[in-house]
């Protein structure tokens, strides 16, 4: 098995879920013993499984255990309705403000990103702190019905993940970020999704700078 066979055949998921025959599993093992990329992908999945398995014995989490003699204001009979009423009031006020903003005509600042997995942002720069920032990317393979988009920070922190319908043929994929971005370096990753088919990942590095 070579790397493209492993990537296109969802070898990592199938190996983790025990869906491979013995021959397939051995063939994939011989590959990942030579491939640090597949080892890393597989290790993330295996460590996720092992750490998830270590969780149930601890549930419920200590923070969720309630004291039998909680003060009156923390007792469910008072705290739950009071908190719910307060939360509702905040939510209504917040939604009213957001709806008012949404109903007003707004400009969108759109920025096209060039792809490039390695090195720096390679000329992709957008202003930070600007509401209604839109990033647009040309899809190298526009044959998928849906696309999974993920935004990461320079340290690998995950900001958001969303699945979106494919754009009309020939159009770029556009993602609007209503509140804008803080000044930092980001990596935007996109891959096609069609049922179990996961397309190759396109990587777009860019920098949000203070204007």
């Amino acid at each position: 098995m070579d790397h493209s066979e492993a990537a296109n055949g969802h070898a990592v998921e199938r190996y983790l879920l025990g869906e491979m025959t013995e021959t397939e599993a051995e063939s994939f093992e011989l590959h990942f013993f030579e491939c640090t990329v597949c080892t890393e992908e597989l290790a993330a999945g295996a460590l996720l499984m092992e750490n998830a398995r270590a969780l149930p014995a601890e549930e419920p989490a200590p923070g969720r255990v309630r004291s039998a003699i909680a003060p009156w204001w923390r007792r469910p009979s008072f705290a739950t309705p009071a908190f719910a009423a307060l939360a509702l009031a905040f939510a209504v006020a917040y939604q009213a403000r957001e709806l008012a903003l949404l109903n007003q005509p707004q400009t969108v600042a759109a920025y096209a990103l060039k792809s490039g997995a390695r090195g720096g942002p390679q000329g992709n720069a957008i202003p930070a702190g600007k509401r209604n920032t839109e990033v647009r990317v040309d899809l190298p393979d526009a044959s998928f019905p849906k696309y999974q988009c993920d935004l990461y920070g320079a340290g690998g922190q995950h900001y958001f993940s969303l699945e979106t319908e494919a754009p009309p043929a020939g159009d770029p994929l556009s993602i609007r970020i209503p509140r804008g971005l803080q000044a930092a370096t980001y990596t935007f990753k996109v891959h096609g999704v069609s049922g179990s088919q996961v397309g190759p990942e396109s990587v777009y590095k860019f920098e949000a700078f203070k204007p």
Binding site: L16, A43, S196
Partner: protein
């Protein structure tokens, strides 16, 4: 991790106990070995023993003066050795009377190939990832990660295998991103954050 080609010089480095080469060998192979042994032995403790034993056997092999006809095939040789170690461990498990462990060779101490698998920080990462999912996906992923049979899962949750794979794919991508952020690019060496 420093990169080395698997060639005659690399094998000579292992034979001559070159610290940089031996460190690379252990750092490079311990995760693939653990993944392989984990599947074969279905036990985390046994898998860790198999990693140690495999590393030790390969080092003993090259240090005994034997060589590999094709040094570039060192990964396949390590894989085969691990497979044999796994089979021996399974056979030993199946026997009622266990032979006494002769203990480590005093002139060839066990290499430090320990893998830190479960840590508090990683468990928190898993909690965060699960918390971000829709309730149905959370319950499904949880059941899957706890090794419920995929066919049983599909029936119980009314989904197909493709759905399971995509769910695992996304969860592990998020977990990998969190590992990278919390533990740096060397997280895959398996040491964990403690």
């Amino acid at each position: 991790m420093e990169t080395f080609p698997f060639d005659e010089r690399y094998i000579a480095g292992l034979r001559n106990r070159d610290p940089a080469v031996v460190s690379h060998f252990i750092a490079y192979f311990k995760m693939p070995l653990w993944l392989k042994a984990r599947r074969q032995l279905r036990s985390q403790d046994l898998a860790e023993d198999a990693v140690q034993e495999t590393v030790l056997r390969v080092l003993r092999y090259v240090r005994s003066g034997k060589t590999l006809d094709f040094p570039e095939r060192l990964p396949a040789f390590v894989h085969k050795t691990c497979h044999n170690v796994g089979l021996e461990m399974l056979n030993a498990q199946g026997r009622i009377v266990r032979t006494q462990d002769p203990g480590p060779d005093p002139t060839d101490p066990r290499p430090d190939a320990e893998i830190q698998v479960i840590t508090e920080e990683r468990k928190q990462m898993v909690r965060r990832i699960l918390a971000r999912l829709a309730p149905k996906d959370r319950e499904l992923l949880r059941a899957m990660l706890e090794e419920m049979e995929p066919d049983e899962l599909c029936e119980r949750f009314g989904v197909n295998r493709d759905y399971l794979r995509v769910l695992v794919y996304r969860a592990r991508q998020r977990f990998r991103a969190e590992l990278l952020r919390a533990e740096g690019k060397d997280w895959v060496s398996g040491r964990g954050a403690g």
